[in-house]
Point group: C2
Chain length 221, copies 2
């Protein structure tokens, strides 16, 4: 009677209400799935192998994730500390039409909150995503879900700003922030953590700002 | 005696010396490969099917491309008009240390030269890449070759600027330009070509500049 399939993540996404113990189990499932993927490839192990390592039953596994694919990616709702999104939504200055003058700063704040949760966790997730590019099934999943997740977040920003979710500035901002976050993780790993992830990120962001502050066209050629 | 495999693109990359007739044949091979991929999926047709459509022999096919995978992507050396790279390399102002104050403008010029070659060709290539994301083998190929191509171009810029190819500003600039170029193509298609690709691109770039000109942190909260 195991409800195996339903690949889409329509699972107990009310993750904030999970008890500490349940949160630990969920994290352990994902961690072991990733280790097994690294060691044996994504097709090289079964859900039973995961259950054995975590010390849970198959039935318990399916209480957390509807499939191995979902388990290896984990739940996105874990990605931001509680209240971050709410704070972001409330931070828009009043009496403004269109894009807030603090939009960049408020998004940067959101990234900084995320980067400050647990640096080791972030670095290991980054390592997993890099590895996942070599696994056809995982790659396909990321290519499909990545844009959906981005669209969802873009709608959130658009609703705060009262602009069209297709406004190209939103997509550009998100791309720049994401790319800079990945660069910050690389720099953090390369520097063996001498500076915090947040410091790396802020430093890189101001470098992007300064280079994007150059003139777009040569004036006189 | 057909030398089938060698998936890596170590082919006659001296493409600039191809005669007009040969250039047409090469382009036709790629175009038919893409049409067949769209209709039947990448695994749904053979090199023989392509040859039949183009009206060439199998031996001729292999004079142009070492594999079906290479043929469907075509040659990158076609992407920029002749002399563009040379002009870019020569455009660095003299007497400068480190990143040129015209780096952004010179890269924008390079993009504009590329966008002005043939708008239809660019739009159809974009459509192909979008579709290719749904083909596991093509996706895998893009994920592997994309970063390599980017690294090569980054090295070129770094050598012009006399900075480390790992300088994060180069990677950021390239990402922003690429993302904006893709946005410009979308806008061009959505607007049915009312404005040129170049106009769309320049408009989007100045929007990115203005939003990235916001303050990075709130000053007083």
């Amino acid at each position: 009677m195991n409800n195996s399939a339903t690949s889409e993540s329509e699972v107990p996404c009310g993750a904030p209400t999970l008890s500490d113990r349940m949160q630990k189990t969920k994290t352990a499932i994902t961690r072991h799935c990733r280790e097994l993927t690294a060691d044996l490839g994504f097709t090289g192990f079964t859900i039973e192998n995961v259950c054995e390592r975590v010390g849970i039953s198959r039935r318990t596994f399916f209480n957390y994730f509807p499939s191995k694919l979902d388990a290896v990616f984990g739940h996105e709702s874990d990605a931001l500390p509680e209240g971050s999104i709410e704070r972001f939504m409330a931070a828009r200055p009043e009496g403004i039409e269109g894009i807030s003058p603090t939009l960049l700063a408020d998004l940067v704040e959101l990234v900084l909150e995320r980067l400050s949760i647990d640096e080791n966790e972030i670095v290991s997730t980054h390592g997993f995503f890099t590895m996942a590019h070599r696994e056809p099934e995982l790659l396909q999943h990321m290519v499909q879900t990545g844009p959906k997740k981005e669209a969802k977040f873009r709608e959130l920003i658009a609703s705060r700003e009262g602009v069209d979710p297709q406004d190209p500035r939103l997509s550009s901002l998100m791309h720049i922030l994401k790319h800079t976050m990945l660069q910050a993780i690389d720099a953090y790993v390369a520097g063996s953590g001498k500076r915090s992830l947040s410091e790396e990120f802020l430093d890189l962001m101001s470098q992007v700002q300064s280079i994007m502050g150059q003139q777009l066209r040569r004036t006189n050629d």
